[in-house]
Symmetry: C2
């Protein structure tokens, strides 16, 4: 089964010593699916999770007036994601951080994508019944957390030109995947600023 080989590769990327048995259980709750550029994967209230086998997926978020949107994160192969905010009541986040509003966020394929899809509840149930899966989930969570912290550090500590260079290094074909105004929003600058940065970089 192809799912099994792909789940094995994904799981061992995070946890090299995970057993074949755990991989077998994990692969039973996912199936391989193909998506086209522009397909929206997760929207408010769905309970799916995905593992990227091939392609680029971005998460988008809007303000509460819905008149402003930005690209929050951009993900490549071996990344896993779900709509964690969907579970906000469970997590009593309100107590820690006052603001209980669930963001208006969703995930979209920036290229054609091959993904493993499953129900997140099945995954949580599996992590509750299988210790190894729960350890795997810890490793995935740690990595995702570090990535988001790095994104935050870059936004706050690097200037826009350096942020743009890092994005280009990570995804060289980014210019052909998303419009300039979205690249600008990911970099937290205006399209005019981005245009100036590009002009300066390519004239050097």
């Amino acid at each position: 089964m192809l799912e099994s080989a792909l789940i094995s590769e994904f799981s061992r990327f995070y946890m090299s010593n995970i057993s074949d048995h755990a991989i077998d259980l994990f692969s039973k709750i996912v199936r391989l699916k193909k998506y086209k550029t522009g397909d929206v994967l997760i929207n408010k209230g769905t309970s799916k999770f995905y593992v990227i086998v091939e392609g680029i997926v971005a998460s988008f978020s809007k303000n509460s007036q819905k008149d402003r949107e930005y690209i929050r994160t951009i993900h490549l192969e071996n990344y896993a994601f779900t709509d964690l905010f969907y579970q906000i009541n469970d997590l009593k986040l309100a107590h820690i951080d006052l603001d209980t509003k669930t963001p208006e966020d969703y995930y979209k394929c920036l290229t054609s994508c091959t993904l493993l899809e499953g129900d997140f509840k099945d995954f949580i149930d599996l992590s509750a019944s299988n210790h190894e899966i729960s350890l795997l989930y810890n490793k995935i969570n740690q990595t995702i957390l570090l990535q988001v912290l790095k994104r935050l550090d870059r936004l706050s500590l690097l200037d826009a030109t350096d942020r743009y260079k890092i994005l280009k290094e990570r995804i060289p074909q980014i210019e052909n995947l998303i419009p300039q105004y979205q690249i600008a929003s990911y970099l937290n600058i205006t399209p005019v600023q981005l245009s100036r940065i590009r002009k300066k970089m390519y004239s050097e």
Copy 2:
């Protein structure tokens, strides 16, 4: 034992059905400690973790030239933290996000604090030997991840005045805890911009 009661409160905040046995194991690897305002808790390469019982702790991060620093996150009671970046090699983060540089980050008490302190390796060992602890760790990770995503959304989608209002709502006494230039850096604006925002707000 006081540690046991505090670990029970902390653990059940995230996972209401965790057993007394798991709490007992967890409380054996921590001890209660008091810290003063300004104490630095985690610095490069330490392997401690902390749970905030009382007080306010902030994480700071510097750029690689070390000429720029900002407050990355501010944490209140029931928050747990460690230097996750310390484990970067384990996590193969490099493969996912190119940039393998560990940030120059540390944690500092903004008020006098009561914390539970333990060795993060003991916690990871415990989560590997006890399934409930690994499930607890997942819940904690999920909550921290949501908080950082919210922080990222606010930086990118809200204007500085709204970000300042949210911070004031969350920590009303913030003005007395950290200097204005650090509040400005948390809000990702200049001290001059912050001063204008304050003047405008308090004249209304």
